[in-house]
Amino acid sequence: MNHIKAKSGNAFLLISLLPAVLILGGFVVLFFWGFYQSLTDMRFGRARVDFEGFGNYARLFGKVRFWDSVSATAIYAFTAVACEAFLGLAIAKLFNAKVLLAKWFRPAILLPLVLPPLSVALMWTTMMNPGTGVLNYFLNFIGISNFPWTSSADTAMFAVIFIDIWTFTPFFALIIFAGLRGITPDIIEGARMNGTKAWGTFWRIELPLVLPYILLAALFRLIDSLNQFDIIFGTTQGGPGSATDVLSVSAYFTAFQNLYFGRGAAIMIVNWVMVLTSAMVVAKLWQYARKRVS
């Protein structure tokens, strides 16, 4: 853009970026303040705040309940994302095939994505009622009766992961579908000519080509699932016991029910580190997968 004068350009650049940078910068200050809080014994409603270094972290690391939360968070996120990736790929393949009904119904599978996750959670809560819920009514037909869903510690994690999968599989399907559309018929034809069978073309051509799309979707979903609060808070609130007590829910109760602000902030920092490291690994995989096919 050499035609536009550089001098006026600088002032313009500053003015266009400043409001956004100021607003977002404010949040960054709050983020660091949150980190500082995690190093103190801050409690809500008490004026005295003592700096105590990594005391909160040391206390957390010594608790079984905290490690339960860490593993609950990891189990929830990784199981959900893995299942969603697999099902999303299957659905995208199905809707990419030349099937009459697929063309008509494609918008229908996007519905779960536009609903508020909390509404989705409450919707499933009514359906998962062990006594009168419609899900157990259906399960009766295949010989399962009184499945406890969220009311038993053994099945609660399965139930919340199930809700996550129902809600966000369409996200994978949508993105993988975009990837499949990008594969031109002549690429597939070329492989056929060389004598590759249908499954062979899928494994050796299609899958590597859509892998970057799968990993991109996984990146977004992993971040959201590791931070997931609405679905779990709306159904089990972390229970029964500590069965679904993921870090974000645990931090909420620590900070806003037991009023240990410092410790709540420390739990969220741990959550954030988990999100960041997982995201970085998946982002690296995504870059690698993209480089391989380009």
């Binding site: 853009m1 035609h3 536009i4 313009f12 650049l13 970026l17 409001p19 956004a20 940078v21 607003i23 977002l24 949040f27 709050l30 983020f31 303040w33 949150g34 659905i91 199905l94 809707f95 095939a97 099937v99 009904l101 697929a102 119904f105 229908a108 599978i109 519905l111 994505l113 536009v114 609903l115 508020p116 909390l118 509404s119 409450l122 919707m123 009514t126 359906m127 009168t132 819920g133 009514y137 129902w166 996200f171 949508l174 993105i175 799309y213 977004f220 931070n227 609405d230 808070f233 974000s248 931090a251 806003f256 602000f261 902030a265 969220m268 920092i269 959550n271 999100v275 960041l276 995201a279």
Partner: protein, 284 residues
Amino acid sequence: MSMKFFTATLLNVLVVVVVVVHAFPIIWIVMNSFKEAADINAYPPVFLFKPTLENYKVLFDLADAEATNYGTLKIDFLKPVLSSVIISVGAVLLSLIAGVPAGYALARFDFRGKEDLAFFILGFRFAPVLLVIIPMFQFFQAVGLTDTYFGMIWVYQLITLPMIIWLSRSYVEDIPLEIEEAAAICGAKRPQIMLQVVLPLLRPGLVGASLLVFLLAWHNFALGLILTAKNTPVTVALLKLLNPGISFYPVMSAGLVVSMIVPICLIILGQRHLERGLTFGALK
């Protein structure tokens, strides 16, 4: 030939299964919202019933006190709906004002640290909202912003602003640079180019982006849960319906349907923008 017919049928059946799995819960909750309390709690579940508007009347306090099972209970669901609309629309507008110029600058200028800034903005997608809420809560208490629309619109920027910046950047990049250069040769200044050339071309994209960002704001739950008491958004008001001792499934079903109708209507308008929006512009 018959083999082909068999596969086609099988695939069609699979499509129907997928669609039913996705649509059934929503249809079921809509049905529930028109059922009487006795029908909702009935087992086996009732599929055919006489529809009633009672749940919606109770939800919006339109029923006569004696005519319902809930006595004189006041829910006043219209208020959270309005709060959600005010907060979400306000958040989208503020994000557009602050975010579109920033998105334009990121698309069209070369400056030191540009990619760092873009990545920093993307980083908000990784941000744990709850970590920011704890200090935010204290700050709001200290300056009296708790439970105000102004405060809520501001904190919602955490979700809406990064999205608007990235989306408008990706839409600006779609506009051929030559158009702007032509305008510049004709003597137009940068602000003029942006307002009179770029903005009209950007409008369809920005409408789509706004719809999506409105959705995200409408979805939000955690911010409202902690930072509001009376001006609660719809999602928080819904959870409150679960708390009373009486079985509230019937009225809650009606509330759920209300909370879902708004996004469904919007997405019918903006379906084309869904992919780009959900992936921060990574897919076009």
